[in-house]
């Protein structure tokens, strides 16, 4: 039986393999600790803290403006993009994508990973 960590890592590996538009992925706790880091850089801890701050603020915004449950944050930079998905309010999935990524496919794959991670966590 694979450990929880192994199962999380394999979901992230599968997500990264799904399309070359996805550069990296990670799972972070609501208080900004990296749970699993496949972002492929040295900025994992910063990404975890910033991702948690973003997710928490986004949750507040969706509540305050009454647009329903928080689901995702989409950040577009001039070189690449960052997506942040909620995992049942218990964690967040962060995904970095290339510039001009096929977001339809990325979202499809990310949502599948989101569901799988929700089951594992």
């Amino acid at each position: 039986m694979a450990t929880k960590q192994d199962r999380i890592n394999s979901v992230l590996d599968e997500l990264k393999m799904a399309t070359s538009d996805i550069q990296g992925a990670g799972v972070l706790s609501p208080d900004g600790m990296m749970i699993a880091d496949k972002l492929g850089g040295t900025q994992g801890d910063a990404a975890a803290a910033m991702g948690a701050a973003l997710a928490s603020l986004a949750k507040r915004v969706t509540d305050t403006l009454k647009v329903g449950d928080f689901q995702e944050v989409n950040i577009r930079g001039s070189n690449a993009g960052i997506l942040l998905f909620d995992i049942e309010h218990r964690a967040s999935l962060i995904v970095t994508v290339t510039q001009g990524a096929n977001l339809g496919l990325v979202f499809l794959e990310a949502r599948q990973a989101q569901r799988q991670l929700g089951d594992i966590l």
Binding site: P30, G32, A49, A52, S56, R60
Partner: protein, 180 residues
């Protein structure tokens, strides 16, 4: 007449009472970003601030105090910098009963001191707990002027408001312009 807006940053180590202070002082519902703690902080409390707390206090006619609370953990230091922009004054909270908190507040104090030069006040909380240091002892540990360090119970509306208002008054913050 347009209200004078004074931006006050509330910072300090984790579990010093920042969120409590803002909840006590605010006259409007507070915006909190409280999330479940999963690291060693979970031993102290269930929830911890990860982005910011925001509240507004109306101490007198024509004046608004905008309070911005930061997270306490160093990994959120990017929020310290974001929230400090345009601030008129800064409050450092420290748990006087916890030596680690006193050590950490010195780090946070230096972090802000290197970046901004605005009126500051150190509030020593949890003075009612056994073994808590007095404001003078905290000042000595931090190596700063004891006149900048006072005891304050962030759970008491009267005490917290009185402390903040006398600080604001002493600094003549009502006439200063935002530093952007």
């Amino acid at each position: 007449m347009v209200n004078r807006v004074v931006k006050v940053v509330v910072t300090g180590p984790v579990n010093a009472g920042k969120t409590t202070l803002i909840r006590t002082l605010s006259d409007v519902p507070v915006v909190c970003t409280n999330e479940s703690a999963t690291d060693d902080v979970a031993g102290m409390k269930d929830l911890t601030t990860v982005a910011m707390d925001h509240g507004i206090c109306y101490p007198s006619e024509g004046m608004e105090l905008h309070l911005y609370g930061t997270p306490g953990q160093r990994r959120f230091d990017f929020m310290w910098e974001i929230l400090a922009v345009g601030a008129h004054a800064i409050l450092f909270l420290v748990d006087g009963s916890d030596p680690e908190s006193i050590e950490e507040v010195s780090y946070i104090y230096d972090h802000f001191g290197e970046r901004i030069n605005i009126p500051e006040l150190i509030l020593v909380t949890k003075s009612d707990l056994e073994g808590a240091l007095s404001p003078a002892d905290v000042a000595a540990r931090m190596g700063i002027d004891p006149s900048h360090v006072v005891a304050c119970d962030p759970r008491s509306t009267n005490a917290a408001k009185a402390t903040l208002l006398s600080f604001i008054e002493s600094q003549k913050l009502e006439v200063c312009e935002p530093i952007i």
